[in-house]
């Protein structure tokens, strides 16, 4: 692969794009939200099941580019079992990293999400990486039934 693209398309991204984790429907979800990026037509549906203020289960379905699919897949892996406050903190840290507002890739709990840090070099792709997260944020704050990154 072209060297400069390795920052954006790491093996982890390809892996999660080919085999997205938690790619299923949760029938008795507490929250179901549609995310949409009108720029490229990416769509995802996020399902969340809560146990008190803990995310007991989370899944997604949809159609999108490698970056948005991998981001959604990694997000569901990392926030499962976390409290809402912890998920909120992760979203904040992740958002700062992909938008280039923070260089702290070693932030506690960020884990594999750091592979998406390369997105900051590609302003047109930041929305792909944040679509799932904006959907999560929106679902948990109950602001809207659907969320758009435009």
């Amino acid at each position: 692969m072209l060297d400069e693209l390795r920052d954006l398309y790491q093996e982890v991204v390809f892996d999660h794009n080919r085999n997205p984790r938690n790619f299923r429907v949760i029938e008795d979800a507490d929250h179901k939200i549609e995310g949409y990026n009108p720029l490229c037509g990416d769509r995802l549906t996020l399902y969340i099941k809560l146990d008190g203020d803990t995310i007991a289960d989370i899944s997604f379905q949809g159609q999108g580019c490698a970056i948005s699919t991998a981001s959604a897949s990694l997000m569901t892996e990392i926030v499962k079992g976390k409290t809402l406050a912890e998920a909120e903190k992760l979203f904040d840290a992740f958002h700062k990293i992909v938008t280039g507002q923070s260089d702290d890739l070693k932030l506690e709990g960020l884990g594999k999400l750091a592979v998406l840090a390369g997105v900051r070099q590609y302003p047109s792709r930041i929305k792909c990486a944040t679509l799932a997260w904006h959907s999560l944020e929106s679902a948990l704050t109950g602001e809207a039934k659907s969320v758009s990154t435009e």
Binding site: M1, L2, P38, G64
Partner: protein, 416 residues
């Protein structure tokens, strides 16, 4: 397989043409730029860039109101550009050429001025399933305002208008037919002569959206076509942004009310009433895009200097060559395979999303559009979220088509 691409028409001075476009001679990610996003906007020749600079440096002033020399010069050049557009479209009269910001504004002008005056509840506006948003939304808006109904003629799997179905949708209530001359997402060229004849037989007026057609299937002869309105943009025609054209038949424009009020379009104002200027100034409120109009005139001169037939032949050959080579790639699907199409190669790849294709192609220096091309209903019809779209212009080469094909094959290797 022949990799050497010896198809360049000897008579077509491609090297001289490429030398006219400064933007083409740069590297992107260390690779020579291959600019194939022309359906979105085209690069500008030195002749247009120099005209803008020279106009601003010497002749610039506001038009139509100054008694001083610079205003007279600027007015002469602005009106000179209008006459060039008249010639480009073979319109009968200068009054029929209205300068607007672009295709979108031209269509909105017709929808709001002609549409609001002539549509009432129960009337119908007929468009096609291949329109881009600029030729859908203005009609939806005026239909909502007037109670008229928007009807949509279907397309087939090749992305061609189904002419029989189109004709069936025409009726005594059809007042306006608005159709793209050439589709931006699919490249389809519509049989506009038949469309116009059918629509006129039912008493409807016809607007042709020429945003894609004007640069790629010139010359457009509005008198031979007998269309009622024709809209196009300067920036896709190698000219500046912020300038476009609405052609309208004189008798229609005469009867239409102004849609924007303000300076330049008035003859006399009191607080009780306003008298409007004659055509085309009635529709040109405010200070117009003066330099941009002059620049559009230079772009038209530039296309004339190459020759319309030569441009069309070159682009057709490029599209044929690129399509043929693209179809050799396993997993590549061409979206839009009309028998008559120009300039546009829209495609998808198995297992690679168009957005990823766009980013990868960029790293090979190849600029394409990835997305829905402001034609979301077209994407829905073909059941794809988006496509990657390579679109060719008069300065593109077979070697650039080869670079596109090479880069696509590399992407497939990476994504497996």
């Amino acid at each position: 397989m022949n990799q050497t691409a010896p198809h360049v028409t000897p008579a077509y001075p491609i090297e001289r043409i490429r030398a006219d476009f400064p933007a083409l001679h740069q590297e992107v990610h260390g690779k020579p730029l291959v600019y194939l996003d022309n359906a979105a906007s085209a690069q500008k020749p030195r002749q247009v860039i120099d005209t803008l600079a020279e106009f601003y440096a010497r002749d610039f002033a506001n038009v139509h109101r100054g008694v001083h020399t610079l205003s007279e010069r600027a007015t002469a050049r602005y009106e000179g550009a209008r006459d060039k557009v008249r010639g480009f479209l073979n319109a009968a009269r200068m009054e029929e050429i209205v300068f607007v910001r672009g295709t979108t504004e031209a269509i909105n002008l017709v929808a709001q001025s002609y549409g609001r005056t002539n549509l009432k509840a129960g009337d119908e506006v007929l468009i096609t399933a291949m329109e881009h948003h600029s030729n859908i939304v203005p009609w939806q808006m005026v239909c909502r305002q007037t109670g008229a109904k928007l009807k949509v003629a279907p397309i087939n799997d090749q992305g061609e208008l189904i002419l029989d179905e189109f004709e069936k949708l025409l009726g005594p209530r059809t007042r306006v037919v608005a159709v793209s001359h050439m589709s931006n997402a699919l490249g389809t060229v519509n049989p506009v002569e038949e469309i116009i004849a059918m629509a006129h037989a039912h008493g409807a007026v016809v607007l042709l959206d020429g945003a894609q057609a004007a640069p790629h299937i010139p010359p457009v002869d509005v008198q031979a076509l007998d269309c009622d309105f024709y809209a196009f943009s300067g920036h896709k025609l190698y000219g500046p942004t912020g300038i476009g054209v609405l052609y309208g038949k004189c008798e229609l424009l005469e009867a239409m009310p102004p849609w924007q009020g303000g300076g330049e379009m008035i003859r006399k104002v009191t607080f009780e009433e306003t008298e409007y200027k004659a055509l085309p100034y009635k529709f040109e409120a405010g200070t117009p895009a003066i330099a941009e109009a002059v620049g559009l005139g230079a772009a038209i001169d530039y296309m004339d200097s190459i020759g319309h037939a030569a441009i069309v032949a070159h682009e057709q050959e490029l599209l044929r060559y690129a399509t043929e080579r693209a179809l050799e790639i396993p997993g590549l699907r061409v979206v839009g395979t009309a028998a008559h199409k120009e300039s546009v190669l829209s495609f998808t790849l198995d297992r690679v999303h168009p957005h990823d294709i766009g980013t990868f192609l960029d790293h090979f220096g190849v600029a394409v559009r990835a997305g829905h091309h402001c034609a979301m209903p077209v994407m829905d019809f073909f059941q794809v979220p988006a496509t990657a779209r390579a679109s060719f212009a008069l300065y593109n080469t077979h070697e650039e088509a080869d670079q596109l094909i090479y880069a696509i094959k590399e992407i497939i290797k990476v994504f497996g």
